[in-house]
Symmetry: C2
Subunit: 274 residues, 2 copies
């Protein structure tokens, strides 16, 4: 059983209801000690103002979502990606985020070359590390579920993420989101392989049966089929003692509810189902 002292609210969980300012306020009211904003929410408020509000609220920032989207069809787009990712690092630094989460991107428009996309991801991260490493902002590769391989992320397993960490070295780690990796027969092995140093974030929600939408039908912890305590035990065995971040995309359920109810349920489930 987990407790709420390491809980963090990813703003995606209430993105349809609350602004970042409301999320910060909600965390304080509900005694949730961490927050992980998406950049669109951060842009609404501005990083400087957000940093001040988060600091005054006494919250930790368990991650900024997201950098990445490396594979592109041409060199002009590549330069835009480089610049946008540097801005993401700057924003993560400005709000004191513990890491910048990378959703690495899928196939460029019109491409069927997934091996090539994976090479672009490797090269893109290598380039970004030249910027992030001297500024001490850790980059966290988030392996996404294989159902997103074409359009969101072609890094789909912990093994791929670990291989990239092996190759690219310091300043790079992994964000483990159980929604994406729960099915992987090598999950325990690859979590242990990652170890304390690489495990930069731990995201929870649940896999619903049936899942009615590829993007926005994730469940609250305990409502699906993932053995979350088991995976949490593996992550903790590997030395992870960071936050447990709740990130739920749910157009037919949690995004339609009173966000104060969502945060209440999150806390209860953190104790009962994580």
């Amino acid at each position: 059983m987990a407790d709420t002292r390491n809980l963090s609210l990813n703003t995606a969980t209430v993105r349809e209801q609350w602004s970042l300012a409301e999320c910060i306020d909600g965390c304080v009211r509900h005694g949730i000690p961490g927050i992980a904003p998406w950049r669109d929410k951060l842009a609404e408020l501005g990083a400087e103002r957000a940093e001040r509000m988060i600091r005054e609220a006494g919250l930790r920032v368990t991650g900024l979502c997201r950098g990445g989207m490396f594979p592109v069809a041409n060199s002009k787009d590549r330069q835009a990606v480089v610049e946008d990712n540097r801005r993401a690092v700057d924003e993560a630094l400005e709000i004191g985020a513990e890491c910048l989460v990378l959703v690495v991107g899928g196939l460029p428009e019109g491409s069927k070359d997934i091996a090539g996309a994976r090479e672009q991801v490797r090269d893109g991260i290598a380039t970004l590390l030249e910027y992030s490493r001297p500024r001490a902002m850790p980059l966290a590769i988030e392996p996404l579920h294989p159902m997103y391989a074409a359009d969101r992320a072609c890094i789909n397993t912990m093994a791929q993420a670990n291989d990239l960490c092996d190759e690219l070295g310091a300043g790079l780690g992994i964000a483990v989101d159980i929604y994406h990796v729960w099915w992987d027969p090598n999950l325990q092995r690859e979590i242990l392989r990652a170890g304390r140093q690489r495990l930069l974030a731990f995201h929870v929600c649940d896999w619903l049966v049936p899942t009615r939408d590829l993007l926005t039908d994730r469940g609250m912890m305990g409502d699906g089929v993932i053995d979350i305590p088991l995976i949490r035990s593996w992550v903790e065995s590997a030395g992870y003692d960071g936050a447990c971040e709740v990130e739920i995309f749910s157009s037919r359920d949690w995004w339609t509810r009173d966000p104060d109810e969502v945060l209440d349920v999150m806390k209860t489930r953190m104790e009962k189902a994580v």
Copy 2:
């Protein structure tokens, strides 16, 4: 570029429009030399009558879909599964199928134990092999996409299927459906590992972007992002010279069209996009 001499129609592709008798007739009219029925279609006609019609039509039966669904919650259900799978082997023998395709099953009702489900799959296949092996009916494990891990098949990669073949021995092989495995970074390696003897079937369709439904939004070859000729080249390099079976679940497109049009497009795409 592939040609149509190895083409096979999986009846799922036109399941909303045609009976098995109409599928057989359609294959003959369109010069498609192979067919792979699902058991519900076979039941409509009866295996004996189906066998006669298929034989008279001069078609090869590239597989029977499907056995499997091994993980269960109790021993009564387990016995029913054993019996149903034996019937599936009998039916496959009766119609002269080249293999019985196994969709192995996901989590039993109420379970979150995916490792346990995978053990039940191993044990279930081992038991079925005692029946299928002396009757010389090859069993083909079909690894399904990880998005089906909970409710359809907990064998989600070629590596898992190869491991099971290593463990369980003769009479067991693999049905490679590119829809399920195209994203796998180890795909080429595991296809070569499987080799000619284990590669029992090759199913094609395409992954659409966006994919609007987890179950019934597959694309016609060429309409999606899978590099089908590349994967076909790997399968052929491994020694596979069997059929190329078209299996498309498509509630919003191909199931709504005139099935004669579907078969025409299948043939064209076999030459252009496979």
